[in-house]
Point group: C2
Chain length 418, copies 2
Amino acid sequence: MNQNRLLARYRIETAYSLDHAAGVIAGEQSTGTFISVPGETASLKERFGAMVVSITETGEVMSPSLPGGEVPNNHDGVYKQGEIVLSFPIENFGPSIPNLLSAVAGNLSELQELSGLRLLDIEIPQEFSKAYKGPKFGIEGTRKLTGVYGRPIIGTIVKPSIGLPLDQLEKLVTELGLAGLDFIKDDELNSNPAFAPLEKRVEVVMRAINHVADKTGKKVMYAFNITGDIEELKRNHDIVVKAGGNCVMVSINSVGYTGLTYLNKFSEVPIHGHRNQWGMLTRCPMLGMEFTVYQKLCRLAGADHMHVNGLNGKFYESNESVVRSIKACLEPILDGYSSMPVVSSGQWAGTATDTFKAAETVDVMHLAGGGILAHPDGAAAGFESMRLAWEAAVQGNSLDNYANKHDVLKKAIDKFSK
Amino acid sequence: MNQNRLLARYRIETAYSLDHAAGVIAGEQSTGTFISVPGETASLKERFGAMVVSITETGEVMSPSLPGGEVPNNHDGVYKQGEIVLSFPIENFGPSIPNLLSAVAGNLSELQELSGLRLLDIEIPQEFSKAYKGPKFGIEGTRKLTGVYGRPIIGTIVKPSIGLPLDQLEKLVTELGLAGLDFIKDDELNSNPAFAPLEKRVEVVMRAINHVADKTGKKVMYAFNITGDIEELKRNHDIVVKAGGNCVMVSINSVGYTGLTYLNKFSEVPIHGHRNQWGMLTRCPMLGMEFTVYQKLCRLAGADHMHVNGLNGKFYESNESVVRSIKACLEPILDGYSSMPVVSSGQWAGTATDTFKAAETVDVMHLAGGGILAHPDGAAAGFESMRLAWEAAVQGNSLDNYANKHDVLKKAIDKFSK
């Protein structure tokens, strides 16, 4: 790895040759304008210019994936697809996520020579470790705070997502705490609404959590959604910490990488990173970026927990893609930046088996909303069914076998399996 | 306009009926989970739930625009496209851009019932004016600072984009200032790189600008790129203002809406909003969002100037779309939030004619990099050719006619027209 240059890998599609397109991309993102200008010397280009490292053709299509692409005069109707690797001088942007993004993404997706461009991966330069300290808790810190080892941290989301009156919230959190849950989070829709302002929510939730802790000795981790503008992040974080809270959550795309970085400068509890709005940046295969890139930036910025969707969930993503995301989060960046993947969406006991089989890890948070709350025998049974499902998976037992011995598991299967 | 609910309009595509899909969207973004849970009462749904206001079918396609969509068992192979309007209770998110985004965008693009979803427009609730004061300068303030009235503010971008040594930068800015330019900006790639740290750049640029002002009486507006993390925004802004600078620029998608909002709390000069990375959010017609939505949020957050690409530019966008963007920026939000559209990318004198004809306004910044710097007779001639082109356009003269009387215009046409 060249210490002075950053590597970025892209999927591209073009009506031109891949060589030509790669050259346009490199020029746009470094020294170029649409016409040569005075001062753009060869030595300047060499030092500050992006360079094309490799070009691999992967296929051809007969119609463009994205609109507005230009075609050459003699176009044969074929659009070439390929992967290219560019290298950028790190000194152009320094250890700065905001300026890294202007360099490696910038205007590229708008170039008319392209009918597709997607950022597949970037190699984080060592220099970034000076500017970004990353998660303060990560997997180890989260296990320590929850006291859960050898299995996933099992939790739920307060449902209904929004609108639950404070007295019912207190009751629900008490019930969930007594049910043995490791973790509870606010829904991403529920941050600081008038009917349940954060201050009040913290008050009733912490009362419930402390009440439960007095009885059981276990302090549930609760991720309070503190998403808001910059000053609110500080104010809201402090409200949570002052009340003895042990986790805060932000919608990363709402606060931006800069908001996350800012929060991480003073945060005293793990930061639960929710990725809503991420679909806009990734669902079109010829645009946006891969989760690999996104989670690297989020972890640099300080996300102790990273949402990755769930297997067999309610979203469009394939199981294979979810598993790749889990594994990406568990891959160290510059030997560190530990972050716990959060498996969520349409989850219940039955999805534990597939998750363990495919991801081969218990270092995840496994969240079920309906899958715990809507268990026929209540939340305690819902939680127990999840715990048992993981126990079975780790032991190599089949879910059905295990269900024969455990009624709560059987009832979960009856209720939730399609 | 109902004061309690926000309207959001979407383009959607689904293998299900549009009715079914609209219902799923409304449920996901308010009270729902994948299965009914205790507490999700009818009265709670009525108060906090999103509501489907209207559904309009617009067409059908035989293959899905985005991957991963689910199809019903009896699917006939047809994907329905349509526009839907939803209303959201404002009390769910309050006057908060970050939480508004979690509500109106959230997880929607990931729903498997959809093979396409794009946010087309939102109606900004009056309540937001309490939390977001918007641009402090806008069109009027920018005209006052530059002293330019009755025509666009004509400017350029420092090129080469990156790598220009400080002594050459000083020389270039002096030359451009003496050439009569109204406005100069850093490239979005050039924020705080090691070879030209912002402090040094401000020093040499302001020396040049003051030198020119002493000679000509005109103080060029220079947008220093201060893009960076949150603390850097404050630090960098203060460096610029302390040195007598009169504009700062940020890459909005790099600093986030929250970063822009934060900067706008203390900024003492206009904020020049660059939209690089925007292509990732908009180029796929069935994903992301329209510029209409984006510029509303950016203006709420405080962008005095908003980049909109340029007609006949080097990017994929159609002229019609660029013109719509210009007009969107000039449309008041809640009777205010004035922001000056910045027409840029592949611009030169010749693009002025089309811009004026289509957008019917002179209230734009018109930026040309090569179109000014690479004029055969130098930057002064480049600037003059732009000014003359607008003069001709406003007077209803053709560019060629005008070029017969003005040599700099003729030379611009010879050099830049394709």
